[in-house]
Amino acid sequence: MRRTVDTLAPLLGPALVVVLFAVIASQTVNAADDVKFRTAIVSVAIVVALYVFIGNSGVLSFGQISFVAVGGFAAGLMTVPSDVKPGVLPDLFPLLRDHSISNAWSLVLAAALGGVFALVVGVPLMRLSGLAAGIATFAVLGITYNILTYWTRIGPGATTLTLIPVTTDYVQATIGALAVIAIAFAYQRSRWGRQLRATREDPAAAQAAGIDVHRQRLGAFVLSGALSGFAGGLLVHLPPGSITTNQVYLDLTFLTLAMLVVGGVHSLWGAVVGALGVSLVNILLQNGENGIDVFGWNITLPQGSSLVGVSIVMLAVLLLRPGGLTGGREFGLPRSLRGRQAGPEPPAPAPEAGV
């Protein structure tokens, strides 16, 4: 029993934190801040999806937000009621214009499209590593953004897609984030996950041991793409039920990557801590712009200073703890609570070789 708890601790710890975060937020937060906290939970899903590829493979990708974008736009577009769609989006292909699907199916569709898109992109791109992989995945993001912004046959183009049903409440956001965390945990414990982590630590040795680096990276990339698409579906159903291409482009890419690195790239725990931590700092500073009471002092920060504050916090964490807040360790119970069978602490992962 104790062993099982030890084994599952890296899953149960993050899951519990997300559930607690959601329960406390849903009971205490006022209506104005509600959306920000729900967005924080959805960002857990996005950052964990990023972690599935970047954390396990050690290859930096700037392209995962394109899967969030594709999933988000697909889920949004297909849940706008079909009786208003021809009026607001007349250029759409008839298949997209005249049909709509339910909230649950839209999330399935988002995940499927994200996965398929990642597969198509990943087959050629996963042969690259280091800087070339980073730039090539960034190019994918650029192409996705460019085509989504201008091709009005598949979406709203440069305008805002509105009238999307708002279905991501605390329950949907939390269940979604928990599902992504559980899949990420199952993957990293699986045979494939372990093989990929071996290629991260020493590609040459992993290859010598018979691991197909290209195939393992592709697998993680597709899984990450599907989870990103799913997270995009959750994102698009947040209030106010609208999305633009700029929302799922550079800013979100940098913010989610920063969350992952601030938390600690090499662990699931790091992804969750980073996403919730950075979100909380951001919410706090945003509220500071509207005036906040600190020990009886009313402090009002100048407009726009929350972004400055978030950048400073990120920079400070990176300078003080370059391995991220968790140092790349998984969540674990304190030693005194562990079973006797538990071995010594595993050594901290070595810094990755390439970008």
Binding site: L131, N146, S311
Partner: protein, 310 residues
């Protein structure tokens, strides 16, 4: 507009991008750091041109150069040096954070005063006029950009090949550890590279602000992103290859932009890649193809670059 005109404009943009590429490539050479915040050095220099409005062009440019060099040195001391022995991903994200910090600080200038984003610059504004040569209309700044690019690149080539500090910088770029063992002072070399990259940022800022005289908190951002793509496509392991890559992406952007705009369809419902609005997609597809065929870089001789097998 003719093809010749498009060609000359493309060389002009390529020259500016090449300047930025050298600035990024020099720092990468000695520090192995991709400085994403390089665009904000350009932004800082551009704001100096705004603040020194009316002080005379020469003084304004000198102050811009000084500010960019100072900011570049501070960035090195405050961020790059503490992170020198950490993973490249951490350093890269740290430069994102610096970039965001500086952009958002600049944005405060507008939100604080509650006014629309943007300041105009008048330094060397006369260069924005066009010279008529036959049927061609070419802005003077295009010639200045090409000239500045050529002179700056020539000076840096001389510096690297004919001076002691240049030799040390090349040695540090080839193998930093061994270079230190034979007596190259690490911090001197790094500071020299960082300072020169600041000078180049200021020069590009002057040219960019003449070409489009509006300075905002995102000045230099998209240029830096494109140049970063260009230097990786060209080849980061060699400064010449990186510079050629920077030039090429500027050239391609300008030239393909003209061709797509004049030849392509203008309909919003047209199939992608057939109209001018899809220029970034066309460039990015070309980038991916080049990276798949030559992952070490287009202008790096095969077998010379360190081979990454996976």
């Amino acid at each position: 507009m003719t093809h010749v005109q498009a060609l000359i404009d493309a060389i002009g943009l390529g020259a500016v991008y090449a300047l930025i590429a050298v600035g990024i490539g020099l720092v990468f050479g000695v520090l192995r750091i991709i400085n994403f915040a390089y665009g904000q050095l350009i932004m800082i220099a551009a704001y100096m041109l705004v603040f020194t409005q009316g002080w005379g062009d020469v003084i304004a440019i000198l102050i811009a150069v000084a500010a960019a060099v100072f900011a570049s040195l501070v960035m090195d001391r405050a961020v790059f040096r503490p992170l020198r022995n950490t993973s490249p991903a951490t350093v890269l994200v740290a430069t994102f954070a610096v970039s965001y910090l500086l952009q958002n600080l600049a944005l405060l200038r507008y939100t604080y005063q509650n006014r629309p984003v943007g300041d105009s610059v008048g330094v060397l504004g006369g260069l924005n006029q066009a010279a008529d040569i036959g049927s061609l209309h070419i802005r003077w700044i295009t010639f200045v950009a090409i000239g500045t690019g050529a002179v700056a690149l020539g000076t840096i080539a001389l510096l690297l090949n004919r001076t002691s500090i240049g030799l040390q910088m090349r040695a540090a770029a080839a193998d930093f550890h061994t270079a230190r063992m034979v007596g190259v002072r690490a911090n001197t070399v790094i500071m020299a590279a960082v300072a020169i990259s600041g000078v180049l940022a200021a020069l590009s800022a002057v040219i960019l602000t003449v070409q489009s005289p509006q300075v905002t908190n995102t000045t230099g951002l998209s240029e830096t992103i494109f140049v970063l793509i260009g230097v990786v496509v060209g080849g980061m392991t060699s400064l010449v290859a990186a510079t050629l890559g920077g030039f090429l992406i500027g050239f391609a952007n300008s030239f393909l932009g003209y061709e797509l705009a004049t030849q392509g369809s203008t309909s919003q419902t047209a199939v992608p890649f057939t109209s001018g609005v899809y220029l970034p997609s066309v460039i990015f597809v070309l980038v991916i193809i080049v990276l798949l065929l030559r992952p070490d870089g287009l202008f790096v001789r095969r077998g010379r670059a360190p081979v990454e097998r996976v």
